[in-house]
Amino acid sequence: MVDTKTLNPRKKEEKQRHPRQEELFLATVKGKETSLPEDLYVPPNALEILLDSFAGPLDFLLYLIKKQNLDILDINVAKITEQYTSYIELMDAMQVELAGDYLVMAAYLAELKSRMLLPRPIEQTEEEDPRAELIKRLQEYQRYKEAAERIDKIPRIDREIFAANAKLPEFATKAPLIDVPLEDLTIALAEVLRRVEQSQAHLINFEELSTRERMTQILERMRTESFIEFTSLFNPKEGKIGVVVTFLAILELLKDSLIEIVQSEEFGPIHIKGIEEVH
């Protein structure tokens, strides 16, 4: 859309003053030459990108002023207005979408320029220079622009500040369970045995029982029941040997850490529960 061709010869002198300045271009937009700003410091095809980097029209104005090596206090409103509007017109010709704020600024500058063109009566010296308002705005903006740059330099989290963290320990959130002393366990066994005595009368025969098999049976039962009452594991019909085999199986399972024996309160019922897998 934009084709750049000649170096503006009028800029030679300018170039010497700014040796770092790259070539300056004339833009041709839709075959029509666009009048370039008096002091064009930016190749027009870079304008869009450049304008993106400005935080607004004031930022852009400050840039134009700085490029002329001028102080804010030293600005020529007429000149800066012309330059600014040339840029805006150029952008418009290039169909760059501009934020309305840039147009508002253009209007403001034009108004300022027109006010300065009017002759000022000598006796009205105390009247404020029309430039003063613009200068004030630029200065005020520049303060906060600089403040923002300073804030940007403060060390901040994840750039210069890194919070120290440690991996959390495992939490024992469950209520601690009471340890079951062996004594209580044997008392419970005695209780079971006593009941077995009571129902022994009708015992006719018993199968040969294996401790291993009983261990499997208990584990299988624990798949469906998470808590099994200690006494319910025993079948009085199996007689004394059956009880002993079951008891041995429980002890074996306990030894292998496949089950836990818990008691929720003193003298309360004893329960068997499976060990929860710890990941």
Partner: protein, 196 residues
């Protein structure tokens, strides 16, 4: 079981993943709770212990934070693959206006910046927890007044707003005017001829 207080505090600081205050610390103890002075002493102890370590105890707005020593951050940064987030000029300017001129309305921010401040931008700052609405100005429209938060200070490792970099001073208009060289007299401001 008697525990070394600074040992517990170090554990708290390392696990909190946020700055913790002395009040926070008091809460984790059951009676008899340590006194605030005891906690301060224990924190001092941690600070001392850190001298020979890679971390330091930093007091910021919301409390204390254990962090990697500033001087070592260059090494950490290499380990981080993702570049730290950069903030746009617009965000930083808005943030600095809120920080220095709080409480401030959006209109006042726009006036100084000379550009509209997007709702998205303010919302972004609020979502980060850096900015909050502290009230409404009693003028038509009742615009919201914005201020910065403790989290903002925490993020920048500050305890108080007064630790922010000094706001550049506003130069006096009258004193500077004639000090400046004007290269081209034709371009001098008050000559209408140059305006063509």
């Amino acid at each position: 079981m008697e525990r070394n207080l600074s040992e517990i505090l170090e554990a708290l600081l390392l696990s909190a993943s946020r700055p913790i205050s002395i009040d926070d610390i008091v809460k984790v103890f059951e009676d008899p709770k340590p006194s605030k002075d005891e906690i301060r002493n224990a924190l001092n102890q941690i600070d001392q212990d850190c001298l020979t370590r890679g971390i330091e105890l930093k007091k910021i707005a919301s409390g204390y934070r254990l962090q990697v020593k500033q001087s070592l951050s260059q090494y950490i940064a290499k380990l981080w693959e993702e570049k730290p987030q950069k903030f746009s000029k617009a965000t930083l300017e808005t943030l600095s206006l809120i920080a220095y001129k709080q409480p401030i309305t959006r209109g006042e921010i726009e006036e100084i910046r000379g550009v509209a401040v997007g709702t998205q931008l303010i919302r972004g700052l609020m979502e980060r927890g850096w900015v909050k609405i502290v009230g409404q100005r009693d003028v038509p429209g009742r615009p919201s007044l914005y201020s910065t938060t403790k989290e903002f200070l925490d993020y920048f490792g500050l305890q108080h707003l007064r630790e922010l970099p000094e706001l550049p001073s506003l130069p006096d208009l009258t004193s500077i005017e004639h000090e400046l060289p004007i290269d081209d007299p034709d371009e001098s401001i008050d000559s209408p001829q140059s305006l063509n």
